[in-house]
């Protein structure tokens, strides 16, 4: 196994061990606590929270990808081209508008919980996937498109078997960026009662317990790194199918 493989297994092991047996790591966090406060988050199960967090991130990213890729496909051809500048601005607003503000607006409309968080995450995650997909689709050489048309592919066949495969590496890159951004941003969901790792950080801030804050941050960070890495691995497999 290469060095990168060893590190990968190590980091996965560390995260899983911490989630399943957090008490083992208590001595490492104890110095950060004061007045005999607990060193390990005790208001809920870390593994459950991490699982919920991951579920939220994956759902949000999938929805972002569906919307962003769908939109990129629509505005990159035929009459849809007219809507390219407008979609660019819309998607751009999704990213420049702070997620906290989106939460504040969404809660009165859809209530507390997972819904406003999903809305904020999906809006925030559109841009990287949309822009990368657009670039990927526009980079397909004109001669390749002409050959596809000339061979008698229908527009759908051309999209499916030529344009999407050629745009895929960039789309995956966008997906990767959105995933990483979402893992961090999703912690905000805990302010509107959506289950996730933000709870640990907020609990730490409220009770002035740096150990909690650090734990929440560490788990979130490790999750982001591992997801980033995993997407890269999957993409690599996909690019070079075994013959």
């Amino acid at each position: 196994m290469k060095a990168s493989g060893v590190i990968r297994v190590g980091v996965w092991g560390l995260l899983i061990a911490f989630l399943l047996k957090p008490q083992v790591f208590a001595p490492a966090f104890a110095p950060l606590t004061q007045h005999d406060a607990p060193a390990i988050y005790d208001q809920g199960d870390l593994a459950t929270l991490a699982w919920a967090h991951l579920g939220l991130v994956l759902t949000a990213t999938s929805l972002s990808a569906l919307l962003a890729i769908g939109l990129a496909i629509l505005v990159s051809r035929g009459p849809g081209r007219a809507f390219l500048p407008m979609s660019r601005s819309l998607v751009g607003i999704g990213q420049t508008f702070p997620p906290v503000a989106v939460l504040a607006i969404a809660v009165p409309l859809v209530g507390f919980g997972i819904k406003p968080t999903l809305i904020a995450l999906v809006a925030y995650g559109l841009l990287p996937i949309f822009e990368n997909s657009l670039t990927g689709l526009s980079q397909v050489p004109a001669s390749v498109l002409e050959a596809a048309d000339g061979a008698g592919m229908s527009p759908i066949q051309r999209l499916w078997s030529v344009e999407l495969p050629l745009a895929r590496p960039l789309m995956i890159e966008g997906l990767r960026q959105t995933l990483v951004i979402s893992v961090g941003t999703a912690t905000l969901g805990s302010t509107v009662a959506s289950q996730g790792l933000g709870e640990v950080i907020i609990a730490g801030l409220l009770s002035d317990n740096s150990a909690f804050v650090l734990q929440g941050g560490l788990i979130t960070g490790l999750m982001a790194i591992l997801l980033h890495d995993a997407v890269g691995l999957i993409a690599q497999r996909w690019q070079r199918p075994v013959q």
């Binding site: 050489p141 001669s143 390749v144 050959a147 000339g150 061979a151 592919m153 050629l166 013959q243």
Partner: protein
Amino acid sequence: MIEIESLSKRYGELTVVDAVDLIIPKGSITAIVGTSGSGKSTLLRMINRLIEPSSGQVRIDGRLTTSEPAPALRRRIGYVIQGNGLFPHRTVAENIATVPQLLGWEPARIAARTEQLLTLFGLDPAIHARRLPAELSGGQQQRVGVARALAAGPSVLLMDEPFGALDPIIRAKAQEDLRTIQRQLGTTVVIVTHDMEEAFLLADRIAVLDNGKLLQHDVPARLLTHPAHPQVMALTGTTDRALRLLSLESTAAIVTAGEVSGPDLPASMSLREALSALIWAGATAGNVLDAHGQRSGHVTMQAILTRGSAAR
């Protein structure tokens, strides 16, 4: 056979192809020539409806091209472009299999056809079938492009400057291969080129376009001896037209009985090459060798020179 009837393409005020009438005989090679921007590609692409005509119609083997959906029409017509347009993410075999796959052929039939075409184009299936286009040389990529166009056995092959990106030696080989394969398969070929040399080398008939108008459509020799328009003469050039004319005929065309002392000239040799061989050998006549290498008669330099004269 392709019958083109008062075919026009207009973009707003601009008429890019102007009421072109053209009949392309079955099994022949027709070159469409003209300066850049004269409408060659537009005319070609209206045949397979990559561009929809503004007016006029096209029939292939008697059938209107508008009588079926455009994708179905294009699957019956081979199409080759400059820079070949191979699908970079598909192997050579997958590229060649494109149209058969669209037509829903059985996998076994596709595999057999792919292998047959690779061999026909001098590529070893065992070595090249699973390569990606980027792993081939320019000449090999170009051959795969033509093989892909011919995969489903189309009766018509459209080519838009297919050899433009190749260096001279590989281009000459590709042109020769095209002629061989075209004769073998009996495909009707329409080739767009701005290279007059290529047109004279390959074409049975040449169509000259200028500003979207068809100036002349004729056998190559008549473009030289009877240009229909000053622009045709400008395009074919006047400085070496005698030699060009000689390049269109072989020694077999003017062979006369009897043996002479002089170099041997294969019957397939063009008069231009024969003339060069005679000049080189310092001879005034040479013996013509038939396909079996037997002397079948002779040609004289005088006879060759006469064939190159406008007054022949």
